[in-house]
């Protein structure tokens, strides 16, 4: 059976019309999707702040107006050191660190307290040069701040806060 050109044209036209009809019965659009995962900001304590044990003695000094007494002190222990902290964060991001200027240590089993003045290698803000950063925190004790310098171990809590800027 021979198919005439006219008949073939009609068939092609009908197929095109069907395709167009399907295109107008359905439609699609796109939108972007995004998410970001960053390193958690945190602090690991590698080593605590250890202050030296101090031996104290009463000293009597004879002066022109009589005998005056005072207290002398000297460190007697070794193995002391600064607190070493490892800061975790996202490389390239800025973090800020807050270290208190002073904190209190209290005698175990008692109420006598000493004031520790801190010093640190990275106070304020810093830029993470990698996923971790090491920070030292040292301190010194003003014995004159003590209440009668009662012998015994003294302990306290140094609180350091790190956060992304």
């Amino acid at each position: 059976m021979r198919i005439t050109k006219a008949a073939l044209s009609i068939c092609v036209g009908a197929a095109a019309l069907a395709f167009c009809a399907q295109a107008y019965a359905s439609s699609k659009a796109d939108a972007p999707v995004a998410a970001r995962i960053i390193e958690r900001a945190g602090i690991d304590i590698v080593s605590p702040l250890l202050l030296p044990a101090v031996s104290t003695a009463t000293v009597a000094t004879a002066g022109t107006s009589g005998i005056a007494t005072g207290t002398s002190a000297r460190a007697v222990s070794s193995g002391v050191g600064n607190a070493t902290l490892t800061i975790h964060g996202q490389s390239g991001d800025a973090v800020s660190m807050a270290v208190p200027e002073t904190f209190r240590v209290v005698r175990d089993g008692g109420t006598e307290a000493l004031t520790v003045k801190t010093n640190t290698s990275a106070d304020g803000g810093a830029l993470m040069n990698g996923d971790t950063m090491s920070v030292n925190v040292g301190g010194n004790v003003n014995l004159a701040s003590g209440d009668g310098l009662v012998p015994g171990p003294y302990n306290g809590l140094l609180v350091v806060v790190v956060q992304y800027n």
Binding site: K28, A29, D30, V33, A34, A35, E39, R40
Partner: protein, 187 residues
């Protein structure tokens, strides 16, 4: 009139009659005519458009150590939630405002439609995450979310798209991106 002529005439008449009968049968057996009603309806073409400058953005989270998820509700103002030990970052230079993608379907008023969206793969380098899209209704099965609904009486429908971002326990930090495709079809 002799008998021969009569017979010839009868034969002729019979032949003519036979031919006539044959002609009547052909005219009614080779063609036929019937009638049936015909109808057509012209409807509006269906379109789907992404609202400009909107994205499905899950924002920033911190690394976790357990399998976790981040969810965004399908709403014009989305709500972000999470499962697992990740932390949602809400402030600072690393954060970005979470958002649902916004689309608009338009076509024949009150027409029934089906909206579909396949799961999306987000990529950061060689690392991949999977997003299950979510509409205001419908469900996700076999990697595709399907929502059967209808255009309103003006022929329009706003389609916010949220979803669930799946984070494996061994997730890797990075900026992930992908493309969400949403298709609408007349039922």
């Amino acid at each position: 009139m002799n008998l021969r002529n009569i017979l010839l005439g009868a034969i002729s008449v019979a032949a003519v009659a036979a031919m006539a009968d044959s002609a009547a049968a052909q005219s009614t057996g080779t063609s036929a005519t019937a009638t049936a009603p015909a109808a057509a309806k012209i409807i509006q073409p269906l379109t789907m458009t992404a609202v400009s400058n909107t994205a499905l953005n899950f924002g920033t989270v911190t690394l976790g150590t357990t399998a976790s998820t981040v969810t965004l509700t399908a709403a014009s103002t989305t709500t972000r939630g999470k499962t697992g030990d990740i932390v949602l970052v809400t402030s600072g230079a690393q954060s970005s405002a979470p958002s649902a993608a916004q689309f608009t379907a338009a076509g024949e008023p009150s027409a029934a439609i089906t909206v579909t969206a396949a799961d999306v793969t987000l990529t950061s380098g060689s690392n991949h995450l999977t997003v299950n899209p979510a509409f205001a209704g419908g469900s996700n099965a076999s990697g595709t979310t399907t929502y059967v609904t209808a255009l309103d009486n003006t022929g329009s429908l706003a389609l916010p798209v949220g979803g669930t971002l799946n984070l494996p326990a061994n997730m890797v930090a990075g900026a992930y991106s992908g493309t969400l495709s949403v298709t609408v079809t007349y039922n």
